[in-house]
Amino acid sequence: MSDHNEQHHIVPIRVYIAVFLTLIAMTWVTAYVSTVDLGRLNIFVALSIAIFKASLVILFFMHVKYGTKLTKMIVLAGLYWLLLLLFIAMADLWTRGWMGVPGR
């Protein structure tokens, strides 16, 4: 319960600049990839880049990389809940066709 048992990590400014430049570069990559037709991989590549960028923001700009275990656990719980939403909603979509519609 004590407020004094954790150290405030000071992040060097060059780390912030490196992350910022990476985010800009990945934005450029996203824009470029959108002009290339990769077929079924289009959405996969776009989402992968987006997840990578979001991870950088969460880890460095939001300081989760330097946070306590409790902070990390709460972030993971949020992500887990997001997966729960996506997985169960998609499970409906995947199984809709399993049983035919009478008369169709």
Partner: protein, 543 residues
């Protein structure tokens, strides 16, 4: 936990420590922010109540003689939006939770006082949007904003209403965040997790739902606004979307939102039942963990709103089973409250009357939920008045009665004054009778096949509708009475002692009303929660 009744001191308290409107509007004191929430939440409740009255007035006769169908659509939409988003969700957490959580854990304030104040302003901004919608013509989609009606066909102010709720959601997120951090970090020395009052456990679970669920409804309404305004396809098949996706996203939040409403009420009931039975709650750990279980399982049942919406039958089966499962932790609480009263020294003071009403009405609401989570039964009952009756038994019979129980229980602590015991008991009786007369006939109407959201109906349904409208009048009277005698008590009520009910808990150890810093010195907790052996027996309020 308590060693002696605290002396009533003629000192400055949080109400008179500073004066002037500015001292309220810029305050960081959780108690003052709670009072500010109490005022605006009550105003929105009254406004929602006006729309409820219009609905019941229209339905007193089978013909649509009071309003046109599109006006009726707007009236029930505004009733739902105001009651759900602007009253029920913030009611207990933002008022009683805000006021009590720091007091109950022996802290001076919430972890982030400025964020707490910000949440109030965000709530007000969301409210302004909604009032704008109300004054400029209303919205007719129902509080559920189902697509494709809301995106493609509605003539109402869908975008403004959606933005109002979107903004309002951040208020709940900030409140939940504040509670979680406060409960983790600011507990008094010796106050371990299993010494926490059950009210705090309930708010911890509620806060988790607020943080995990509210962003989803915010994003969903934002997507709706994008589709309606910019024709970006998410839900409309014409743009490549899926209308059932809207229902998935909407109910992923909005079903757990029912638990945002009911869990804090359950926390209140645990405190009230224990105090007025002078007994430690039976199965403290079970009640505490059942709150967490409700929060977790509550997130896995949303598909029972989609049984007839084109959802896969396999998904429906899973959601049906999971919906049965969530009844278990709710039932644990009800049985444990009953067991707490068994052989207790039960005192039928006003908060206890409301708590007993809660147990009965919530049980009816919960058990009729089992009907609706059965796949076959739900096909017959979907979109009928049975559903309306079911969720009003949970939201009004449960959440509202819990709120009233809590308000009457902690009113002496919040304002330092007692209210009329006679009038408050009359009010509790009127609310119970009026509520049942309003909503029980709606179960029968629904089972007979009367659909919800229609203002014209066949004459054979009139008897039950008249009963329901008559009940609404009694209920309204029962709710107007507290507004009168509680306001009256602010100036004329008897001065309340620090612990008028003979309750345990740190909030009863400080003066009524508390000082700005809550406690003269930080309390040290050395005993388990609800240790009534430490409460002097003569400290029992009468009259």
């Amino acid at each position: 936990m308590i060693t002696a009744p605290a002396p009533v001191k003629e000192t400055k308290n949080y109400l008179n420590a500073q004066t002037g409107l500015k001292s309220w509007l810029l305050t960081g004191d959780h108690k003052r922010i709670a009072v500010m929430y109490l005022i605006v939440v009550t105003a929105f409740f009254a406004l929602g109540g006006v729309f409820a009255s219009l609905i019941r007035l229209e339905l007193a006769t089978p013909a649509g003689d009071l309003m046109e169908s599109n006006q009726y659509n707007k009236v029930f939409t505004m009733h739902g939006v105001l009651m759900v988003f602007f009253f029920l969700i913030p009611s207990i957490p933002a008022t009683l939770g805000n006021f009590l959580i720091p007091l109950m854990i022996g802290a001076k304030d919430l972890a982030f006082p400025k964020i707490n104040l910000l949440s109030w302003y965000i709530y007000m901004l969301g409210g302004v949007f909604t009032l704008y919608v109300l004054l400029t013509g209303g919205v007719d989609t129902g509080w559920t904003f189902y697509t494709p009606f809301s995106t493609s066909y509605s003539n109402g102010y869908v975008v403004a209403a959606g933005l109002g709720i979107f903004i309002n959601g951040f208020s709940a997120i900030l409140t939940g965040l504040n509670f979680i951090v406060t409960i983790h970090r600011m507990r008094a020395p010796g106050l371990t997790w299993f010494r926490l009052p059950l009210f705090v456990w309930a708010h911890y679970a509620t806060s988790a739902i607020m943080i995990l669920g509210t962003p989803v409804v915010a994003v969903t309404l934002f997507l709706l606004v994008l589709e309606r305004g910019l024709h970006i396809g998410f839900f409309d098949p014409a743009y490549g979307g899926d209308p059932v996706l809207f229902q998935h996203l909407f109910w992923f939040y909005s079903h757990p939102a029912v638990y945002i409403m009911i869990l804090p009420s359950m926390g209140v009931i645990s405190e009230v039942i224990s105090t007025f039975s002078s007994k430690k709650p039976f199965g403290y750990t079970f009640i505490a963990f059942s709150s967490v279980a409700i929060a977790v399982f509550g997130f896995l049942v949303w598909g029972h709103h989609l049984f007839v919406a084109g959802q896969s039958i396999y998904a429906g089966l899973v959601f049906s089973i999971l919906s049965y499962v969530v009844a278990i932790p709710s039932a644990i609480k009800v049985f444990n409250w009953a067991a707490t009263m068994y052989k207790g020294r039960v005192r039928l003071e006003t908060p206890m009357l409301y708590a007993l009403g809660f147990i009965g009405l919530f049980t009816v609401g919960g058990l009729t939920g089992i009907f609706l989570s059965s796949l076959g039964m739900d096909v017959h009952l979907t979109d009928t008045y049975f559903v309306v009756a079911h969720f009003h038994y949970v939201m009004v019979g449960g959440a509202l009665l819990g709120y009233l129980a809590g308000l009457h229980f902690w009113w002496p602590k919040i304002f330092g004054r007692m209210y009329s015991q006679v009038w408050s008991k009359v009010s509790a009786a009127l609310v119970f009778v009026g509520f049942n007369l309003t909503f029980f006939p709606q179960f029968l109407l629904g089972y007979m096949g009367m659909p919800r959201r229609y203002h014209v109906y066949p004459p054979e349904f009139q008897v039950f509708n008249v009963l329901s409208s008559a009940g609404a009048s009694v209920l309204a009277l029962g709710l107007i009475l507290p507004a009168i005698y509680l306001t009256w008590s602010l100036k004329h009520g008897a001065i309340a002692s620090a612990n008028p009910w003979g309750a345990t808990g740190l909030e009863w150890q400080t003066s009524s009303p508390p000082i700005s810093e809550n406690f003269e010195v930080t309390p040290v907790v050395t005993t388990e929660a609800y240790d009534y052996s430490t409460v002097p027996q003569e400290v029992v309020h009468v009259g």
